[in-house]
Symmetry: C2
Subunit: 220 residues, 2 copies
DNA sequence: TAAATAATTTAGACAAGTCTAAATTATTTT
DNA sequence: AAAATAATTTAGACTTGTCTAAATTATTTA
């Protein structure tokens, strides 16, 4: 059906698609997958043959509904495995991403279904990201990138966009984990950094680098 | 380190090695993996380069201690996943083999270790086959092929060598599951079939085809 | 033990996925 | 709007694992 490699390309394209309506550029995919632009062009042609993406030479790709369904089913598996690894096998939140990256390609819908039931039909993974349902619906529940926020106020950390161990360890050190509640104290126009304060009065600075990888919801 | 394909070859060679001291022939590996003899020759050369097998042209291979360790670690993972799929996710015993065949190649010793702990350090998989320990030791506990038995008496079914759904479904229909206790009533020299009887007086015939895939231990 | 048969290996090719270097097309700058 | 720069694609090659057909080596049979 689809190979692991194709699945990884579709996941990358899907992730690069969310948020902006534009086509996803070859170079963006290459960057995201740490591969060469030439390889991306080759794979894009293949995915286009299979109607997983719409490809216009020199102008990148748009994912089709068919491709999106595949991507979402892989993301669903990925996030369910992450819950399993943390809740059941007691891994730490910065250890689960790479393992889930392998487990997600085990190709059995029945396995996914039973895993989901065993875990009690979780709606979010350990990083706060929503788990797409069987039909490929994502309940994003008003998540926004912290970097896009213009209004001071109270927010809850609901997810992250960078799952690398180093980023997650950095967040944990700063006291930022999914569910953390904080208020924005100040936003600096110059470098887009911001200062936030937790309910325990502890206050920290957050750079644009960091805030563009944090998903938040308004709180109260 | 080792690719999935290499791992599958090593597993096959290991399984074909147990029981007989001889070299494993190219054609036997090809048969076991449903591939061509030419492909086997190619892979054998590669495994020989890596000191996983000792290869003598035209005379098959012997697995080395190094190759055996890899095979046993894969078999360990395979059987632990089978326990997980049956005990935790409630799959039936004829459904777990193919899934475990995929899961076994997820390459993390830490994952295997935690899965083992979560399952309560099981010593046997759902088919009755022993789970090799971390050091690659197998506690075979006196298992013998039913087809090799020459003495009438009472036996307990402790494992199977064929994990195909069709074979397992056949066994279940006949009342043969791991732990089943039976006595050999008669052994026919002509076609190597045998008649066995369960404690509930039910009696069945077993052909050589079947008995050579059943592992038993003497009971009392 | 020589001929026939069976098993194994070699040769050459193919598919998937990758790469670098060169050619082509887009975009930006002046 | 032409020149310079940046992005993308093409061309050609490499790796892993596979195949078929032909050549070679072992084994069996007469």
């Amino acid at each position: 059906m689809t190979t692991s490699t194709e699945e990884n390309y579709l996941k990358a394209i899907y992730h690069l698609s969310t948020g902006n309506q534009n086509s996803v550029l070859t170079s963006a995919i290459a960057g995201s997958l740490s591969t060469s632009a030439a390889s991306v062009t080759d794979m894009i042609k293949k995915l286009s043959e299979k109607n997983m993406v719409e490809y216009e030479r020199y102008h990148g790709v748009k994912i089709t509904r068919k491709g999106e369904k595949v991507a979402l089913s892989i993301i669903r598996r990925h996030r369910l495995w992450e819950v399993f690894l943390m809740d059941t096998l007691k891994f730490k939140w910065d250890e689960v991403h790479d393992l889930a990256e392998e487990l997600e390609h085990v190709s059995s819908d029945e396995l996914t279904k039973r895993l989901d039931a065993f875990l009690g039909f979780p709606k979010f993974d350990p990083h706060g990201d929503p788990i797409p349902d069987t039909n490929g619906k994502v309940h994003s529940n008003g998540q926004v990138l912290l970097s896009e926020i213009t209004k001071k106020g109270k927010y809850i950390l609901s997810g992250v966009n960078d799952h690398s161990p180093s980023f997650l360890q950095y967040l944990e050190k700063k006291g930022l984990i999914p569910g953390s509640i904080f208020s924005i104290v100040e936003m600096d126009e110059f470098d887009n950094s911001m200062q936030i304060i937790f309910s325990n009065k502890k206050s920290i600075f957050i750079s644009k680098e960091v805030s563009k990888n944090l998903l938040v919801r308004s709180h109260e």
